[in-house]
């Protein structure tokens, strides 16, 4: 950006690009955008543990790395425990000002890595844990995870037998661990995501961010509308943006006039098979979940 332009525009996002453009993500990948914003927020003094997930490919094969910060590729189920180990070593070796970041997919977080995450949260390991949620095991070819929502097609929940179980409410489970900071975020709202990471960076203990990150390949939508779909998820109240700081709830995006879930669902091939009854059911669930969140904010807000 030229100096004269800079003076005209007030930058709301840190200008420094740490992630380099030569990564291996698919077109329109929400997870790639996510890392770009995360590194802008956290800066270069960040050490990242990445378990098996799309990001273990996106960063590039040996001897390349796009991230621009140290990356430790770790076992699928160990994002929290590896990052936790890094955080204790930072303390033991008295290396100041370094952030230990666990960066995992929904499968590595909601499912196989959950035990390690629960342990780190209960102990209060000094890490920031970001789950970029694309609602399935994308790296292995779009299989359902416990973050896959009701109604979605995946390769293990084919159209005739689409997913019937609801999406696991990971935020509430993490909040129940009494973590000092938990937040949801969405790649469609980068300022909010960045602000939350910067807040998390200055809090001691286990910080958890549930980040919504669409996957055009797995959701069957054109790569050009990733951000649009992500924004719709919040505008329909499907994915509310809120934070819980030491037990205090704040809904960061109020959504007074929600759009109908129909709009969101119709844009994605993974929901194409849904009957109007199924869509109605989804709308009811979304409304009920939102209602519940409002009550939580009323009861436990500031």
């Amino acid at each position: 950006m030229t100096e004269s332009n800079k003076r005209k525009i007030r930058l709301t996002i840190p200008e420094q690009e740490i992630l380099s453009p030569g990564h291996l993500a698919c077109q329109g990948c929400g997870a790639a955008l996510a890392m770009r914003y995360a590194l802008k927020a956290l800066g270069p003094d960040t050490i990242t543990a990445i378990p098996a997930c799309c990001w273990s490919v996106i960063d590039g094969p040996f001897p390349y790395s796009a991230a621009g910060v140290p990356i430790y590729h770790c076992a699928f189920e160990t994002a929290a425990s590896t990052a936790g180990g890094i955080s204790y070593a930072i303390k033991a070796l008295k290396k100041k000002g370094i952030t230990a970041l666990a960066w995992a997919g929904d499968g590595g977080t909601f499912d196989i890595g959950f035990q390690a995450l629960s342990g780190a949260a209960e102990r209060g390991d000094n890490i920031i844990y970001v789950v970029y949620d694309n609602e399935a095991y994308m790296n292995t070819g779009i299989q359902r995870s416990s973050a896959t929502p009701y109604g979605a097609w995946t390769t293990t929940t084919p159209v005739k037998h689409f997913k019937k179980a609801p999406k696991k409410n990971i935020m509430e489970i993490m909040v129940a661990h009494h973590i000092p900071y938990g937040a949801t975020a969405n790649i469609a709202y980068p300022e909010d995501f960045i602000k939350k990471l910067q807040k998390a960076k200055n809090i001691e203990g286990c910080k958890f961010i549930h980040l919504y990150a669409p996957c055009p390949t797995g959701w069957k939508h054109p790569p050009g509308i990733t951000v649009k779909i992500a924004r719709l998820a919040t505008e329909t109240r499907i994915f509310p943006i809120y934070e819980v700081e030491r037990g205090v709830y704040t809904i960061n995006k109020k959504v007074p006039k929600p759009k109908s879930v129909d709009m969101y669902l119709k844009m994605q091939g993974r929901f194409r098979h849904l009957s109007s009854e199924a869509i109605q059911y989804i709308q009811q669930q979304v409304d009920a979940n939102w209602e519940r969140l409002i009550k939580l904010e009323q009861a436990f807000g500031s």
């Binding site: 390349y64 180990g85 204790y88």
Partner: protein
């Protein structure tokens, strides 16, 4: 300084003497007191380290991996089911070339639940790229922990070590252990200087997607490191002897020079075997004992050099590779394959069954009177 200590306390003091920076461990009988004492020592500030009270052995090793990658010297201890739960991460450690040390209290695998001695837990981790060594007594536990960091961190090696001590026979048995002095240990084992580490000033990725173009060579380098480790183990053992009056090697022959029959063994059976050798020598039987310290790297040359003068060799295994033979037996068979030496395979002491002096005498009697046949199970109740 000499103290009377159980094997578990000795292992804990070994980690303290090695001045580890991060300990991460989970309790399991019979390893538990290692975790208990270390957590107390760290909490009391007697060791400047972090202790991570993880929720599983899986996280214990994963967090050691993260910490070691940042440049910390790390330690954990486990046993049986715990080591099995770590299995995937054992590969991650060795392929990541992280010289972590684990004290593993050898215990039988369930079911049925057994907390007693058996080396199936460790030998079944054979191909993970870890160095594996077996201790005869508590002094060897202490000495091996200190030496293992020096060996593993050596630039020619950069591999982790699994130190094995038999459940109860060592873990819960008190023996006199010389803990030496801090100054001399520090001189022998200075602070950890990693070859490479996670460094924000020099951002690299570790363990990235690796094509067939590179993976093959990475594996080759581990094999080369294992081969080089043999001479590093010898050198470190010698240097240790100069400073502490106790020398170590890959193997330890006992009265083997002129022995017609040699019994190959490892772990606590080695102590009983030496005693049996003395008793039988007094009766005029020409017998010796060869203790194997290292299972990986496997000291084929050293073993061959000792066994080549014997008339008969018996191998006593506290494990069995089901469908074949004892795990050490098959290794000995392979390294003596160019000879016509009669080899006898014995299984003994699984699940903590006692292996007595009498059992060892019976093994020798068996070898004196019979030809080698299929695997012999000592003291089996065959009905």
């Amino acid at each position: 300084m000499k103290k009377v200590l159980t094997g578990n306390f000795t292992a804990a003091y070994g980690a303290v003497a090695a001045k580890v920076n991060v300990i991460s461990a989970y309790p399991i009988t019979p390893q538990t007191t290692i975790v208990e004492i270390l957590s107390e020592i760290v909490a009391d500030g007697k060791l400047d380290a972090e202790f991570i009270k993880v929720e599983s052995e899986h996280s214990a090793l994963a967090s050691c991996i993260g910490a070691q990658a940042l440049g910390a010297r790390t330690f954990t201890a486990t046993s049986a089911q715990g080591l099995a739960l770590m299995h995937e991460l054992l590969h991650w450690t060795a392929r990541g070339r992280l010289p972590i040390v684990i004290a593993n209290v050898n215990r039988a695998m369930a079911p049925g639940w057994s907390i007693w001695a058996d080396v199936t837990d460790s030998v079944s981790q054979r191909d993970t790229g870890w160095m594996q060594m077996y201790c005869e007594n508590n002094q060897e536990v202490f000495d091996s922990i200190i030496m293992s960091y020096k060996i593993g961190e050596h630039r020619d090696v950069l591999l982790p070590t699994l130190i094995n001590l038999d459940a109860f026979f060592l873990s819960h048995t008190s023996q006199v252990v010389d803990l030496y002095t801090e100054k001399v240990i520090d001189q022998f084992l200075p602070c950890y200087q990693p070859a490479v580490h996670l460094d924000v000033k020099d951002p690299r990725s570790f363990g990235a997607l690796t094509s067939p173009e590179y993976y093959y060579e990475f594996s080759y380098k581990i094999q080369q490191a294992m081969i080089r480790a043999k001479s590093v183990i010898r050198d470190v053992g010698k240097k240790f002897g100069e400073l502490f009056d106790r020398q170590y090697d890959l193997v330890e022959p006992y009265r083997c020079d002129d022995a017609e029959i040699i019994l190959v063994n490892y772990g606590t059976i080695a102590g009983t075997a030496k005693e049996a050798v003395d008793v039988m020598r007094d009766q005029g039987i020409s017998v010796g004992s060869l203790k194997i310290r290292y299972f990986r790297p496997f000291p084929s040359e050293d073993i061959e050099a000792v066994l080549k003068t014997a008339n008969k060799v018996g191998v006593i295994d506290r494990a069995v590779s089901y469908g074949h033979a004892g795990p050490f037996f098959t290794e000995i068979q392979a390294c003596m394959s160019g000879t016509s030496l009669p080899l006898y395979g014995f299984v003994a002491g699984l699940g903590g069954r006692d292996v007595s002096l009498h059992d060892i005498e019976n093994i020798v009697k068996h070898m004196q009177s019979r030809k080698p046949e299929e695997l012999i199970w000592i003291g089996i109740k065959d009905d």
